[in-house]
Symmetry: C2
Subunit: 355 residues, 2 copies
DNA sequence: CCTCCGAACTAATACGCATTAGTTCGCCGT
DNA sequence: ACGGCGAACTAATGCGTATTAGTTCGGAGG
C-alpha cells in the first residue's frame, strides 16, 4: 500500500503523466493538446477529447514553475511593492491600483502573483536577490518609490519584463505608466483663470519628486498660456502647517491673490494648512477665496466640501500598467504612457471677487 | 562568432554550471555551497571560498522557477474569493483580511496568488472548474459565502489543502478559521447585564447563516447564565427597516425592555433600523435606552458614536487562516481555530434607567 | 603491502513541462 | 510488391537546481 511519492509529496496534484495514463496516451500528447498544439502536430479529434476529459476529471492544472523553467510562459503576472501591498494604514494603500491591475489581468487571461516583498515580519527585506523571486512570473509590476534601483536595473538589463507604476525616468529602458500631472494641473489653472482669477499661488512641498515638479510645470505653463505668467507664484513649504498661516494668507490676498492651489501629498499637509489658514483668517471658500487641490483629498477630509481639482485615475493606471506589461511580453515594445487625470469641479473654487 | 545558447538565450544570466566552471568545481558543489550544505557533505573551506567568489564575480542569482521545481513546492498560497472582481472600496470588509494574509504569508515565506471568480481569462466566472485553477498554488484560502460547495468538496477530497475564512461545518474535512461570535456576543450581554439591564432584545435577520445563529446562541446563553433566561427575546426581521419602527420600539420599552442588540450584517440594516427607531421615538442612547451591535458598524456610520459591541478581528483572522494553511502543508494537521473578538465599550450602552 | 576509512568531491537523477526528432501504420500509386 | 507519404502519435531531451548515490585519493592500521 505504500504509495509512491507521486501521491504523497505532491498531495495528489496531478501531472501531465497521470492525465496521459488515464487517457491512454503519452505525456507528450497531453502537453500538445493542453498547450493548444501550436506546433501543428497532427492530432486526432477523439484523442484531444479524451485528453481534455481526463485532464478535467483529475483537475489538472499545470505547474507554473515547470512551465516557466521549460522556457514557456506561466500566464502569471507579478506585483511587487516594497512596502506591504495591503498596509494597515489605509491612507496610502495600493488597493485602488490593484483593482485595475486585477481587472485588466483577468481580461488578458493572466493570474496575479503578489510578491510579499518586504511586508513587515518577512525575512530580510533588503536581502540581495529579494527582487529575483519575481522571475517566477512572466513579467512584473512594481509600485512604491522605495524599490531598490540596483536590483531593478539588473532585472531590466537582463531582459526581464517590468513595468513601474509611477513615472521613473532614472532607469533607462524601464517601462512605466504615470499620471499626466502637467496637463491635469494646467486644466485646473485654466478653470481658475476662466473664473476670473488673475493672481494665484501654488503651495508645494519642498522636494523634487516628479509628481511635484510636474504639477508645478503644468501650473506655470497654463498661467503663461493665459498671459498671466508674471502672476505665477510658487511657495515651497517644508512645513506647511507652520508657514501657511492665516496671516500669510491675508498678506497674499492683500496683494491681489484670489486663488490658492495645493499639491497632493501623502499626508495632505499642504491642503490641510490651506484650509486651516482660510478658516483662521475668517474667510470662506469659494466666496472669499478660491481653493484647488492638485489631486485627491486625504480620506479623513472626505466629508469636507469636495475640493476643486483632479482625481488621479489609480484604477485606470493599474489597468494601463498591465497593458504595458502585456505589450512588453507579446511584442517586446516598451511603452510608457501617460494617463489623463479627471477634472473634479468640486466646490472650493468660484468666480474671482470683483474688486 | 555564432555564440552558443549560453550567451544568447539567457542574456548572460549565469547559472550554477558557469559558476562551477569558473571555480573549477562541479555544479553539485556549487549547489551545495550556495545552498548552505544542509545535507552535511564534507567541503573544504577553500573550495567554498572559491565558489562564493566565483558566484559573486558572475553575479549569480538562483532561478526561482528551477528552485521551486526541484523543491516540488512553489511557495505559493492562493487566495480565492468568488466576487467577480476585487471590491472597489477600500473600506470593504474584504480588505482587512488581506492585510493579515499578506503579513502572515510573508512571515512564512510564501507569495500569494490572487484568484477571483472571473480571472479565468474573462471566461464565465461560474464555469465548472473555475476552482480547479487554484491548484496552481500549494494551498488556498477561500473567502466569501458563495463559494460553490460541490467544487470545494472535490478539491478537499482530493487532498488539496484548503482553508476557509469563516466557519463552514457542512463540509467534512474542510479546515476553517472563524470568529468566536458565541463568546463575543455573550460578553456583550454580560456587559449589559452588569449595567443593570434585565430585559433585552436581539434583532437579527431572517436567515440561518452560522454567523447569525452563533450570535443568537451567545446571546441566549449569556442571558441564561445571568438568570435572565425568560427575559430573552429574539426578533427575526426579514426587512428590518419596515419592522423595527419607532412605534415598535416604544412598545417594547413599555414592556420593560431597556436594551436592544443588533447583529452585524453586510448592509447593517438591523443596526440602521434600530438607530432610526430610537431617533424616531425621540429617545436617546444611552440615557433612555441602551444599544449594542454584535460586530462593527458600516463604514458610512463611522462618524456616529461608536456602538457598544465587539470588533471582528479580520486581520487576525487572515493571519490565522494562513497559519492553518501552512500547518496543513507542513504537518498535514487540519485545525480550525476560533479567534476571539475584541469587546468594544463604545458609547451606546449605559446603566439601565431605574424605573 | 594490502585494506579500510574518511575527507572531498562528482555523476546521475528527479522535478514537470515543452519541444524536436523521430517511429509506426495504413494506404495510394505504379 | 515495394517505395513513398502523410496522419497520428511517442521517445528523448533540455530548462536550472537539489539531492542521493557513488568515486577518488591519501593516509592510518594490521
Amino acid at each position: 500500500m505504500a504509495e509512491k511519492q507521486s501521491a504523497k509529496s505532491r498531495r495528489g496534484r496531478p501531472r501531465q503523466a497521470e492525465v496521459a495514463r488515464l487517457a491512454g496516451v503519452s505525456q507528450t500528447t497531453v502537453s500538445l493538446v493542453l498547450g493548444g498544439n501550436k506546433q501543428g502536430v497532427a492530432l486526432h479529434p477523439d484523442t484531444c477529447a479524451r485528453v481534455l476529459a481526463a485532464a478535467r476529471e483529475l483537475g489538472y492544472v499545470p505547474d507554473p514553475a515547470a512551465r516557466r523553467l521549460a522556457a514557456a510562459r506561466n500566464n502569471l503576472l507579478g506585483v511587487f511593492s516594497f512596502t506591504a501591498t495591503f498596509p494597515t494604514a489605509v491612507e496610502h494603500s495600493y488597493y485602488p491600483f490593484l483593482v485595475g491591475v486585477e481587472q485588466e489581468a483577468a481580461r488578458h487571461g493572466y493570474d496575479l502573483v503578489l510578491f510579499t516583498g518586504s511586508s513587515s515580519g518577512g525575512a530580510q527585506a533588503a536581502s540581495p536577490g529579494a527582487l529575483e523571486r519575481v522571475r517566477l512570473a512572466d513579467g512584473c509590476l512594481f509600485l512604491g518609490r522605495h524599490i531598490p534601483a540596483g536590483e531593478l536595473r539588473r532585472l531590466v538589463e537582463h531582459g526581464y519584463p517590468a513595468v513601474h507604476i509611477g513615472r521613473r525616468d532614472e532607469l533607462d529602458n524601464l517601462a512605466w505608466v504615470g499620471a499626466d500631472y502637467v496637463e491635469a494641473s494646467a486644466e485646473v489653472v485654466r478653470h481658475l483663470a476662466a473664473l476670473g482669477h488673475r493672481r494665484m499661488i501654488l503651495v508645494r512641498e519642498d522636494d523634487d519628486a516628479p509628481a511635484s515638479t510636474d504639477r508645478e510645470r503644468g501650473f506655470r505653463e497654463a498661467l503663461a498660456d493665459a498671459g498671466l505668467a508674471d502672476a505665477a507664484a510658487v511657495v515651497r513649504a517644508a512645513d506647511p502647517a507652520a508657514e501657511i498661516t492665516a496671516d500669510w494668507l491675508r498678506g497674499r490676498c492683500a496683494e491681489g491673490v484670489t486663488a490658492f492651489v495645493a499639491e497632493e501629498t501623502d499626508t495632505g499637509a499642504a491642503w490641510r494648512a490651506l484650509l486651516a489658514a482660510v478658516e483662521g483668517a475668517g474667510l470662506h471658500a469659494p466666496s472669499d477665496v478660491s481653493l484647488a487641490l492638485l489631486g485627491s483629498p486625504p480620506a479623513d477630509l472626505a466629508d469636507r466640501p469636495r475640493p476643486t481639482g483632479f482625481d488621479i485615475p489609480r484604477t485606470e493606471l493599474g489597468a494601463a500598467a498591465v497593458r504595458a506589461l502585456t505589450a512588453l511580453l507579446t511584442t517586446g515594445e516598451t511603452e510608457s504612457p501617460l494617463v489623463s487625470c479627471a477634472f473634479r469641479p468640486g466646490s472650493t473654487a468660484g468666480a474671482a471677487p470683483t474688486r
